[in-house]
Every structure is written in structure tokens, then in C-alpha cells.
Symmetry: D2
């Protein structure tokens, strides 16, 4: 009871920073675009997600929710969500079996729509719960990692319904990936270690939108940043922004703090770990806990001290060097800090809510596959966000409108 | 003669900063992929363009070149190019009639391929020289402005051959638009006015790649930057990067320096000019000289003093306030400074050279329309650039390669 | 017992990031420069202070320690310090009376040397415990606020012994004030509110070293920063660094987050509070809790909700606007986060330890007054810090040394 | 005649950006504080200096002016100054002998006051023109380099009158050294080479105020910056601002651009030159042309090509590597660009003008030696500058004033 109240307060706090989703929810309550639909969602069970659930519920949907990460569930929020009539299957700190049991429990609702964050629910649906596939009209996926998996499924013709790549909207990339992951990752590192970032060398593996955000924030806190990449175009962009670009094998001995954010596995491997300085800090900001090869670290360590700081385990190498692994290699921003600030989730969850209604309207014309969020959703979300912040933009004059649509006028 | 030598030295200097195009030219000389083809080009006649002409010539092409801007021609370079066997139709400071006469002269070659920078040549071809259309297999366009015109032509089914949007490559956007325009624009403003940018308020109209680059450089020189936009998504991104976003009507009275970089016309109009501070500086970094309404400025002025500084005209309003227009509202980075550094053009011109060979290979399968540069061109250009700078990147392990192509592994 | 162990772990963690103080402590253990001396200290009772106590103890001193802030005491560290033989008079969350009782208890040791952080202990000594004054050979003061008070005492000839202004060393200003306060303040705000700083307007009151640090970090996290100042020279510097400078009355309605860091009182007053936006966050990073006029805030509020987030109280104005006061207006970096990272304290505490030995050597030649830390202490501390980080610097050649000392060579 | 008109226009342009000196000059014209005094000045003969001469002349002084640098004289300004009744002894491009002849000619006025910029005039006065010493009541020195020489003279008791270290004011350090040198140095490099700074490695030798300014601007233009230092405290500060600090021997092989700004000689020596990359750019922003060992460079070169670009000479090493020396190793910001923007000189020249009147008032009480500018001059200059920019600051309330002067109130 008390825990549910704490959850309520937390949700209320998040809702304040989510004016766009609030506006969308108000519209949904009036128009009821989701009446009669069932949604199975696999998302981080946090206060911000709760606000999304509220908006979808206001639109008329029945919802079952599982956690998209075994560690990220806010138990008080989970408790509070029950009061909203949402069936929540989530608890902080569950093991792998329970994690998938929860996903299956959410699927038991027999969804019309699925919401996913990493593709575990969609994957389970396509492998273990194929009987439910015919009922699904489509869904949304939130993460880069999940999109990679979905595109691969689509390429292999395994995907059976349309999925909207919410991750690929301009607003999502900007907000969630760049600003949200950027701030919350450095926040997680500071909360876990209280280390001074000014003057430190921070190695950021991956220069996608997330990596870019982490690099900017680390630089903004006074760190010298080294970037590692596999894509020459991104690597080149990093050099042009003044970053030092090197292969991980060359960065390993220079870094004080390492952050992986690539969407790939084994980005930091045994061959890199053995080169690192005493006191090096290892953090992952990619969706899955596979970016740092934790097994290799365990294999190398002569001793392990768990919890030397919050979310911090110390691995002592045979020669006495100490490596500090944050959040067991899981998402450091969610585990050691509180994940994306609500202001960030306001954007991506609003896009998600609007994308759901787009799916409901358009699904009959859509083949199975991965779809971009329609640009008008993006523009609408950004416009609502600017309105909420009191920021005004220009509008085209008729002459300007005409000019942009004419190819006849040139150098005069 | 002497002037041609000066041009040679200038081209030689540019070539040093263009290692990628050098590598491409060497490959062309060996493989002769353009043997027997005629190219009509309308480009800024600068040292960097000369290096591109050299590479295309090495590949076997015969070339006729006109200027894409009446003011930007480097006469010494034009003289030197004659020695390379290129037919050059360009001279600094020509009037409108001569400008189009030069374009027509370049078209007289009867092109297989066209290279354009602003779409004036392609436009002339489709309106005045339609007899040449059947011979053209395709072309490349360099600028945002030109692409807008081409897409409009394509939408109206007026475009008669495939055009590659060189502007839309990732490397072009990054290099040319962001870093090239960024630096050369502030460089042009400093050369023209020697004004201290630290502590000044710089208003950047437009937050596309170019505007972003200008904003970053102005901020990097200590200015406080105000951004104006019409697109809510770009406006929101600007606010998240810490910029102050306002409509032009609100920015007009606050700015010490104004830079337009939108691709649209009349971005600064009479209604804005009358609000500005004494000493306000007006510069355009967009392709055409239509972004600042110069006629309105002339209409408002009680007196005009030309050349109070290099590339700087002073317009005195009736109440004594003085507004300073740089480069007559034409591209400030080309007119008051030297345009993009060669290192920048190295990327976009290499992409252009490789795109031409792609057109030659693929044109038979291509409908009329606007095409993206194939991603492998981009990656190749970036890789060559990193090689030249001695920067190394990581490569995927087989396990990582497999992981990226598998959708089956999830949260473990 | 268990709590002392937790304190030990915390001290051990801090010690890792304090290689300079470790080196100084090792030298003290060998040379025993403080043998037979008694020290009364009034400092934040944190893990870093504990490492300083260890170094001074290793040098031979007997120490009594009180807290310099009623809220900042880490009780586990206090418990652990007992095991080092330090008499600790401190507990988190005490009232004013207990606070001063603890200071008096520390003074009961009958100090030869005093260490102060805000001047409360020195003030108590000069007003309530004058009988102890003759025994004191000198002391050190850590904060800007304390120095202001000491200089005033010296000007009124009330100060009775030499005090070293540890705050005024170049290393202290750089590290503690700029980098330490900078990072820990934004850290405190993020922990308390989890607000996204990108795109927010942060008002920093005061552009001394601390304010500069806070402004840089806020900007580095994507905020737009407004600075308020009373000193025209500092205000001008802020404008030249690209900040927007305004009086508080003009900033009040624009800010999303306010940070006071001036060393003065009532910097945010009722007249400012009534202008603020719904949701405005108020934080103080100055030494005393007088910079935000909390009484005025209480007087204005129709309702107060304590603890809506950790370290966050919500004041609801009669018209419904909500203002969020962090840490009750006390030091937000110490109360909502963990204070300066240990790497920062390493510098200032090493300077303090070396300044104590300088006092012991030199005190007989010193009149009562405020003294700067000798520059060689500064240089020594910086050199040890660079050594620990593996950073090398250049050394002068004999020719260069000679050149710097000759005024005869000029333009040749 | 025509040249004098060009000079007039240039001076008029500078005057627009110098509102503070304009206000000071107006006050001088009213109060005539310099009536009957003779001034010998050795300063860069530029438009901004001309505005200072105008203000001093308005105050009643008779002035003789020599150039403080053989290359920096703007001949049109020199011509125009004649019309103001100033005796100018300066011409661009003179040899050493003429340089000192000009200084002697300026001294022939028999000065009451001297203004110096590098200490050559004061040095000449103390060695060759000692007969004039008794008439001098004092003077001002503008540069760091000059102050070093003066302090050394004072330490050896060779200095015979009071000199005000205009360089050491807070406003001078901030404006001239940090913002002025910062911008004009990168401006000079861009004008000379048109090189893209984004992605380049810029090595800045010296992290005083000037070096800091250059480093910030290089970083602001996208460069990766390496700092070299001899002072551990400055080196540490550089690391904490995120710069990579190394000895020159380690930086030499990494740099694309080198800027010396130390006030010392031979900072880049033969041993460093032989390590550099093909195409490395060498620029000096320190007062004298001794920071880069140009003789060593000449000794190493197999060939020299002068003027490959404006202000750029190319030295070809025997193995073919090309090093590019800008401005012959002289001040790159003055030689390749236009020196400090007028807005910068406005501050330091206003401080200088006010310091001259302070000297006139106070000289009888002053021993020979180096004096700081009185802080009230600084504050006055900053206040006038803020006024001109329309920036307002806060003022202390009586309670705040009282609080700052009371040491009795503490933790409550």
C-alpha cells in the first residue's frame, strides 16, 4: 500500500516533466482511439512508462506490462500501476527464467498491439507463442538494438506483422539517444563512483546517436574523450568534432573510464582488459549486457569485491590492478541512475502513443516489415514540446512557400 | 602567363590538402573509366574544383567548365585550367547575361554527363537547350538548394535524366555543410569586419547541417547564438544543444551579427531590418543571394557607403543606424573568405568523382529522378580520408558480425 | 561496529583517488613534522577529510574534529575515524545548539593549530573561548566565505594569529572551486530531481571560481546559462565567454534551475521568487544557507510538501506555481550528492597539510593576519598530481632560463 | 593624401568598436588632464592605437609615436595620424637599424610619460638615452613580455621610474590576452593557410592567458588541442579543462599546427622540427620572434619557398617533408591577420589612458618599480563596456553590503 503511494508520487513527479504526453493523453481521453484493443508491452517499468500506460489506457486500451530489463523495474511504480488497472508482470532483480515468464504472462492477454524495447517480447511471440501471431495488427519497438533484430527478422521474412521503428524518429534519436542516454550515463557513472570527470580520459565505444551523446556530456564535464568505431564515416565525423579516434586495443591503456554503446557484443574483451590502468571504470550504456565481456573479466580476476560502491564491483587482476565494473555490465544509466529523465521520455513515448493510433488506422494497408514513424508524428511531437517550453518558431510566408516549390528561379 | 602560374601554385596548394581525390585520380589514370565521355560542369571555379577537373581528366573525360556563381571565380585558377586542356568559361564579377552565356558555352560541348552546383546548368539545359537532353546519361548536383529544385522538377516529371544528389551523402553533409560552411563563414565575417565574436550575439537563420556548422563555430569563438527555424524538429534540437531559439522578429533587435543559411528567400526582410541595432552585420551563407532582402535594405537606406571594409557595404538608416551588408548578400564564405578549405572539398569532390563512374556503370538501369550516392561511395571516401590522416578504426570480429545479423539472442 | 566498517570502506575508496595526499602522508610518517602538536579542526566530516586526518596523524598531531556543516556529516566515516584515534564531535542532522557544542568540544583539546571551513571555529575561539587564544600558533581556512570573514576580522584587528588562506591557492581555486563545485553541484541537482539539463535555462548567481565551474558544467550538459553578478569585471568576463548576463530580477522569470554561489546572503529574494516559472528548481552551492531567502519562500507558500524527491521540498504558491527547493537551501553538492570528488580534495587537503607544516616552521615570524599559501606549496602539489596521472611537462633549457631573467635582449 | 584618407577610414572603423575609449576621450577633452605633458610611445601603429592617440591628444598631451614591431605598421594609419598632429616614426617592413632609429626619434620629444609595448623603448631609454631619464615621471607597459623585462630591471634596481603594468589588469588579461589573442591568432592561421581546423591537432605551447585563449578558439573550431607547459599548476589546469598535456618532444610528431605563446625563446627547436609531419604549420603568437628557432629551421631545410601563400614560407626538409612557417615566426595575429579586434583594444587602451592620468596624479608618491593598475580603473573600464553593450548587473542591497563586511554571522 505504502509502496504504491511512493510509486504514485514518483509517477506524479515524472508526469510534470511530460507535457506532451499529457496533451496526447487528454486528446485520447476525448477521442478513445484504442477502445476495445489489447496491448502487450515489454518496457522498462518506470514512472515515465507509467505515464505512457496512463495515456494509452485513457485512449481505451487494456494493457499487460512486463519488464524489458531484469534490473530496471521500479517496484513502487509497478505497485502503483496495479491501481490504474494495468496488469504488471515485473519485479526488480529477477533471474532469466522469471524474466521470460513475465514476458509470457504479458502475452497471455492476447495482444492486438505489442510495444517492445529490445525485441524480447516480439521474439518470444515469434518463437514460443506463435498461436498469438494472427491476432496482432502491429507494434512499436523503442531501441536501436531491437530495430537491428527486427530488420534482420524482416530480411529473413520471419517477421509477421508491421513494426514501427519508434527508435528511428528524428525526435527519438535526438532526445532519447543523444540527450537522454548522454546525461543519464554520466549521471550513472557519477552516482556509482563519485569520480571527477574533469581531466579524465573517457573512452566511448560507438559513435551513433547514443555514443555521440555520451561523448558530448563527458567532454562537457571536462573529460578528454577517445572514440572507437567500426564505421569509417562515423569515425571521421568524430575526428572532425575534435575527438581522438583509435581502435580499442590502442585506447585500452589510456582510458580512465570506458563506456560501451554500440549495440554489439564483446566490444571490450579480455585482450583489452589486460591492458587497462589500475582503477579503470567499465560501464555499458548499450541495451544488452553483452558489450563488455564480463565472463572474460571474471576469468582474469584473482579476486572480486562486490559492492565497493553502489552498483560497483571491483575485479582485482593477479598483478594487483583493480578494474571497476558498474551495474554488472548492464545499462548503467538505468541501474546506477534513474534512466532517461522524464522530459526525454515525454518525446519518445508521445511518438509511440501517436504511432499506435497510426497503426490502428493504417494497419490494413501495411505488409509485415519495419516502418518509420510518419514524419508528421515527429513534427507534431516537436511542436507540442516547443509550445510547452514557450519557444516560438518562424512560419513560411506565401512567397517563401512558393520559392521552395519552384525550380525555375536561379541565379539572378 | 604569370596569372596562370599564380593559379598553378594555388592549385598545387589545394592539392596537398586533398589526399583522397589524389588517390581517386591515381586510380582513374590507371583505369580510364571516363574515356570518350564529355562533361559539362557548372561549379565554383576555384583551386579545389581544378583538382577535381584534373582527376576527371585523368579518367579520360573531356570537360567544359562554367562558373556557378558570378563572383566566386578565381581568375588565376581559370587561366591555369586552360593549360590542363579544360575549356573554361568563367571570369570574376560578370553580369547576369554573361553568367548564363558562360553556362551555354559549357553546354556547347554536348555533354554525356553534367555536374551542377545550384541547378542553373541543369535548368538551362531543360529550358533553353532541350536539343542536348537526349545525349545526357546523368549528372551530379552539389548543393542543398540545387537538390530542392531537382526534386521539384522530378515531382513535376520535368527532369529528364538521373541526377545524383552529391549533397545528400553523409560525408558531404558532414564535411562541406557542417565543417566547411561553418569555418569558412566565420572566417569570411572576420576577414570582412575584424569584429570580435566573443561576447557578441550571432543570429543564425536555419539549423540544417550548414546552419548547425555556423552556430557551432560562432559558439566556439565565444558568441552567444540565437537560432531561427521553421521546422519544429530542428528548432527543438537547437534548444537541446543550448541555443536560444526565437522567431526572426524577436531576434532582430538582439543580434550583432546575422547569418542566413536556409535555402529560402527573404529570411531577413524589411520588417526585421528596421528593428536592428546600430552596427549590425548581415551575412548570407546560403547558395543564392536571396536570403537577405537587399532591395528592402536599399529601399530603407538614406545613404549607402560601399567598401567601408573589404566586402562590406554600409547602409545608413534615416535615424542614423548603420547596417553592414557583407558580400552584397552573396555567399560570404566564398566572397569574403576563400570558400571551403580544400580538406573539405577533398571529400565531396571525391564522392562526386566516384559517383560519376557509378553513373557511367549504372545509368541504363536508372529512371530520370534524384538518386542518393550509394553508401559504399561514402564509406570508401571516409576510409581513404582516415587513412590519409593516420587514424585507425576497429573491425568486427566474426562473432560480432554474426551477432549483428542474428535476431535470436536477447536478454540472457 | 558495522557502521565503522562501512566508513572504513568509504575512506579506502576516497584514498584511492588521493595519490598526492598519500605521498604527503608517507613523507609525514617518515619526518614527523607535527610531533607533539594539537589540532582542532572544523571540517565537513567526510571520507576525504578522514584521509587528511590520517596524514596529519601520521605526522604526529593529536586531533579533535567537529563538523563544519550540520547536514554534511557522514556518520559511518565519523565512526571509523574513532578507530584512528581522532576525537570526532559530529553527527548528521544536528541543530544549531549541538553544532556549536561540537565546535566547543573540539576546541577543548587546546589547539596549537586550527583548521576551519567557514570560520565558525575561529569565530567561536575569538568570542567564546578567548582563554585558548594564546596557545594557538596559527591555522588554515578552506572557503571563500571564511576568508571574507577573516579578512574583515584582520581589518578590524580582531584576528589574533596568522591564518593561511588555503582557499586562495591556485590549485584550490582551480580544483575545489571550479572543477569540484562545478561537477558536484550539477550532480546534486541531477540526483535530487533527475531533470534533463539539456535545453533548460540555468541561472548561476555569482561568477567567481565556483560560479564559473557551475556555469561550465551546466553548459557542458546542454543548458543555456544566464549569469548574474555584481562585479562589472566578472560580468564582462561572463559575457565574453558567451553567457547571457542579466540582473536577477530579469533572470527570475526565465530560469528553469537557479544556483546561488556568491558568498553573500539573500541573493534570491521574495521579489524574485514571485516571478518564477512553475517547476523552477532552487539550489544553493555557496557555503552558508543564506543565499536563497528560505524564510521569504516559506512566507509566500500556500503549502509545502517535503521530500517530493530526495533532498527536494516543494513550495506551492497561492496561484498554484510550484517552486522546488533543494537541500533546504544548504550546500546542494554536499547534501544531495557527495560533495567534491576525492580527486579534488586530494589537491586542497595536500595544500592544507603542507601549509600546516609551513606554519609550524614559520609562525614565529608571522604577525596575526591572513596569509597566502606559499607558491612553492602550490607547485609541489600540482607536480605530485601530474606525476600520479602520468602527465609530463617541459623543463626550461639553460638558455631559456637565462632569457627569462634578462631584460636586455629585445626586438632583433 | 589618398593613403591618409584610407587611414582615416580605417581609424573611423576602429573607433566604432571602441565606445569605452570614446567615453574616456570625451571626458579628457572636457577635463584636459594631460595639458602640457609630452608622451613618447612605442606601440603597434594601427587604427586602434590611433584612437588612443586621439584620446590622449584630446586630454592635452603632445605625442611622438614609434612602432613596436617592424612588420605591424599600417602605413595608411601612420599617414593619417600626421593629420592629428602626432609625430609618427614608423613604416611597415623596416630593418633593425631603422626600427631603433624610429624609437630614438620618438624619444627626442623628451618625454614626461612613456608608453611601451615590449619594453624596447624603455630599454633604449635606460641604455642609450639616459640623459632623458630625469624628465620621465613614469609610464605604461602593455605586454607580458615587457613586464617580465621590467620586473627583472626592477629586481636589479636598474629601473628608474614607476611603470604601470597595464598588461596585468584583469580586463587586459581577459580581453587582450585571452579573447583578443585567441581569435586573432586562429584568424591569422586561417587567412594565411585556409586550412580546415576541425579534426586537426593543434599544439599550443604555453597555457597563460594568451595560450588559453588560443587553445579555446582552436577547440571551438573543432581541433584537438595539445598543450605544452613548464609550470605544473598551469599544466594541471589544462588537463582539467580536457586538454592533452605533453612535452613538446612528444607533441612534435602529433601536431598539424603549432602555436607558440610562452614569452620565452626556442620553444620549438631543431630537435622538435625534425620530428614533425609533412605539412606541419608553425605560427608564433608571442610578442618576440624568438619562440620558434627559425635559424634552426633554416639550417635544416634543403630548400625554402617564400610566399607559397600569404605570410607563408615553405621549408623543405632533405627527406621531402614540408614545414610551413607563418609570418617569419613573428606575431601571426598581427602579420597574417589584423591583430586584436578594436573591441579588445578598447578595453586595454582605455585602461592605459586612465592609468596615465593616475600616474600624473600619483607619481610623486611612487618609487621606481612595476605597479599594478589600480582596481578602480579596471572596474570603471568594465562598467563602461557593459553599459555600451546594454548589459546590466546587480547591485548590493544594504543588508548584503553589511553581510560582506561582518564576520560575526555564521552557521545559523
Amino acid at each position: 500500500m505504502e509502496i504504491a503511494e511512493a510509486g504514485e508520487r514518483r509517477i506524479d513527479w515524472a508526469a510534470r516533466a511530460m507535457p506532451v504526453l499529457h496533451a496526447v493523453g487528454a486528446r485520447f481521453a476525448a477521442e478513445r482511439p484504442l477502445d476495445g484493443l489489447k496491448i502487450a508491452a515489454c518496457l522498462h517499468v518506470t514512472a515515465e512508462t507509467a505515464v505512457l500506460m496512463g495515456a494509452l489506457g485513457a485512449g481505451g486500451a487494456r494493457i499487460a506490462l512486463a519488464a524489458s530489463n531484469p534490473l530496471s523495474t521500479q517496484d513502487d511504480v509497478a505497485a502503483a500501476l496495479g491501481d490504474y488497472g494495468i496488469a504488471v508482470h515485473a519485479r526488480a532483480g529477477v533471474d532469466r527464467e522469471t524474466y521470460y515468464r513475465h514476458i509470457n504472462a504479458a502475452l497471455d492477454i492476447g495482444p492486438d498491439i505489442v510495444l517492445d524495447d529490445g525485441c524480447d517480447l516480439v521474439n518470444t511471440l515469434h518463437t514460443e507463442r506463435v498461436e498469438l501471431l494472427p491476432g496482432v495488427i502491429g507494434g512499436c519497438e523503442e531501441t536501436t538494438t531491437g530495430i537491428i533484430r527486427l530488420r534482420q527478422m524482416a530480411a529473413e521474412r520471419a517477421l509477421r506483422f508491421p513494426m514501427v521503428a519508434v527508435n528511428d524518429t528524428r525526435t527519438k534519436r535526438m532526445f532519447d539517444n543523444r540527450y537522454g542516454t548522454g546525461q543519464s550515463t554520466v549521471d550513472g557513472i557519477m552516482r556509482a563512483t563519485n569520480t571527477l570527470l574533469a581531466g579524465k580520459t573517457v573512452v566511448v565505444a560507438g559513435f551513433g546517436y547514443c555514443g555521440r551523446g555520451v561523448a558530448e556530456r563527458a567532454k562537457g564535464l571536462g573529460a578528454r574523450v577517445i572514440v572507437t568505431e567500426i564505421d569509417p564515416v562515423k569515425a571521421l565525423d568524430a575526428t572532425l568534432q575534435g575527438y581522438d579516434v583509435r581502435p580499442m586495443a590502442a585506447a585500452a591503456e589510456l582510458g580512465d573510464v570506458f563506456v560501451t554503446v554500440t549495440g554489439n557484443r564483446d566490444v571490450i574483451r579480455g585482450e583489452h582488459l589486460v591492458l587497462m590502468k589500475d582503477g579503470a571504470i567499465l560501464a555499458n550504456a548499450g541495451h544488452f549486457d553483452v558489450e563488455i565481456d564480463v565472463r572474460a573479466l571474471e576469468g582474469l580476476a584473482a579476486a572480486v569485491h562486490r559492492g565497493v560502491r553502489p552498483s560497483t564491483d571491483e575485479y582485482v587482476l593477479p598483478d594487483g590492478r583493480r578494474l571497476l565494473l558498474l551495474a554488472e555490465g548492464r545499462l548503467v544509466n538505468l541501474t546506477a541512475a534513474e534512466g532517461h529523465p522524464a522530459a526525454v521520455m515525454d518525446m519518445s513515448f508521445s511518438a509511440q502513443a501517436l504511432a499506435v493510433t497510426w497503426l490502428v488506422r493504417e494497419h490494413q494497408g501495411l505488409e509485415p516489415g519495419v516502418y518509420d514513424v510518419p514524419p508528421e508524428v515527429d513534427t507534431e511531437v516537436a511542436r507540442l514540446k516547443l509550445d510547452a517550453a514557450g519557444v516560438r518558431v518562424d512560419t513560411l510566408t506565401p512567397d517563401q512557400e512558393a520559392y521552395l516549390h519552384s525550380w525555375r528561379s536561379g541565379t539572378a
